[in-house]
């Protein structure tokens, strides 16, 4: 209402505190003018979606310099990096199974066991000779799963377990198989 300096009573009229009839006679003309001016004010509803659209358009204009084509691949690569870095799901602790290995080798001076469970180390798991009959035994606790192994007789001769199924080892010999 710049340009209009109404009487305080007229301002009360505009505020709805009093009616035109409450005004003194000398102020009624001024009050009517004020009401006419008020009625002429544009009361079209403000469209919130329109405002939203204008705000979003402004934001879009501001965003353009950030190279939008770079954003999607960067996010994808970041996600790939996170997946790569994240530690693998901790493996469920494998159940342990106790297994007794037996080999009859009366002529042997020493017998050991080598396999996937001891990195094929021919000296890691020696068998014990039980009695004079040449029966060699070892008892191991192994994780459940698949194991391949062989006996190593006198440190040089690789012998599959005669009591277990065997598969080709890829080197012209056979590995025994243990499925726990």
């Amino acid at each position: 209402m710049s340009g209009h300096d109404f009487h305080p009573l007229v301002k009360q009229l505009l505020d709805g505190d009093i009616t035109l009839a409450d005004l003194p006679a000398e102020l009624r003309a001024e009050g009517e003018d004020a009401l006419r001016l008020l009625a002429a004010v544009d009361r079209t509803d403000v469209s919130v979606p329109a405002v939203t659209w204008r705000v979003m358009a402004a934001l879009e204009r501001r965003r353009r310099p950030v190279l939008p084509w770079l954003l999607a691949p960067a996010l994808a690569l970041a996600a790939a990096l996170i997946l790569w870095i994240l530690p693998a799901k901790p493996a469920t602790p494998a159940a342990l199974v106790t297994v007794r290995f037996v080999l009859v080798a009366p002529e042997a001076r020493e017998v050991s066991l080598a396999g996937t469970f001891n990195q094929w180390d021919a000296h890691a798991t020696p068998l014990v000779r039980t009695g004079p009959t040449g029966v060699w035994t070892a008892t191991l606790t192994l994780p459940a799963g698949q194991h391949q192994y062989a006996f190593v007789v006198d440190g040089v001769r690789w012998v599959p377990d005669p009591g277990a199924p065997a598969v080709d080892d890829g080197f012209g010999r056979r590995n025994s198989v243990l499925t726990l």
């Binding site: 190279l67 690569l77 990096l81 459940a144 698949q146 598969v167 080197f171 499925t179």
Partner: protein, 217 residues
């Protein structure tokens, strides 16, 4: 962001090299430098394809421990990679999004004499990855005992479909082997077990039919 884009491939490459260093560390002193270099190369590529690396390392270590010449170890390691690829493909064809354990189990089954089609058939049973892993290991072990693939896959498929616990599956090789030791042909021993599973499934189905429940009690 541009810095991130530049550094990301480098850091990924660095991590790959770390993986290669891990393989090299496991092989150090166990195989010749040529074999170690080959396993690092094949292992890094296999890992990028989602294949397990451990079977390659194990085969190389096994060859070194057995005193096998380097070129023969290299050939055996290459064969393992081929078998892993075959197993992974067969599992995918069977609709299984395979993890490294299932693929390694499939590779063992192939080593034992089963085919990619056999693996696909087992994958199509709809068994969970852990059950399928056990199924493949047991199927491979039965093949090693001498059970023909048709009977082998038929038996393991029926066991997987019936949802039998892993412990029951794992007991199969010992059971079949003891029957074979008593003179039963491997195929016949496996067929007998399969009939047993079929009867079990039939009984379960009947038990679900209320009208027949009282007969079975």
């Amino acid at each position: 962001m541009i810095i991130a884009l530049v550094t990301l491939p480098l850091s990924l490459l660095g991590m790959q090299q770390q993986g290669g260093a891990g393989i090299a560390a496991r092989l150090a002193g166990r195989v010749s430098p040529e074999v170690a270099a080959l396993v690092v190369e094949l292992g890094t590529a296999a890992s990028a394809r989602g294949l397990p690396v451990d079977p390659l390392i194990q085969k190389a270590i096994e060859g070194g421990a057995k005193g096998v010449p380097s070129e023969r170890v290299a050939a055996a390691v290459r064969l393992v990679v081929l078998e892993l690829d075959t197993a992974a493909l067969a599992l995918r064809e069977g609709g299984v999004v395979s993890d490294t354990l299932v693929i390694a189990a499939g590779e063992f089954a192939i080593t034992a004499g089963l085919s990619g089609n056999d693996i696909t058939a087992l994958a199509r049973t709809g068994a969970s990855p852990s059950a399928l892993t056990v199924g493949l290991r047991v199927a491979g072990t039965l093949a090693a005992i001498g059970v023909p693939s048709a009977e082998d896959i038929g038996l393991i498929s029926s066991k997987l479909r019936s949802g039998e616990p892993a412990a029951d599956l794992l007991s199969l090789p010992a059971v079949i082997q003891s029957e074979v030791a008593r003179g039963t042909p491997p195929a016949q021993a496996a067929a007998g077990r399969r009939r047993g599973t079929r009867n079990l499934l039939r009984t379960r189905r009947l038990r679900r039919t209320p009208r027949l429940r009282h007969i079975l009690r």
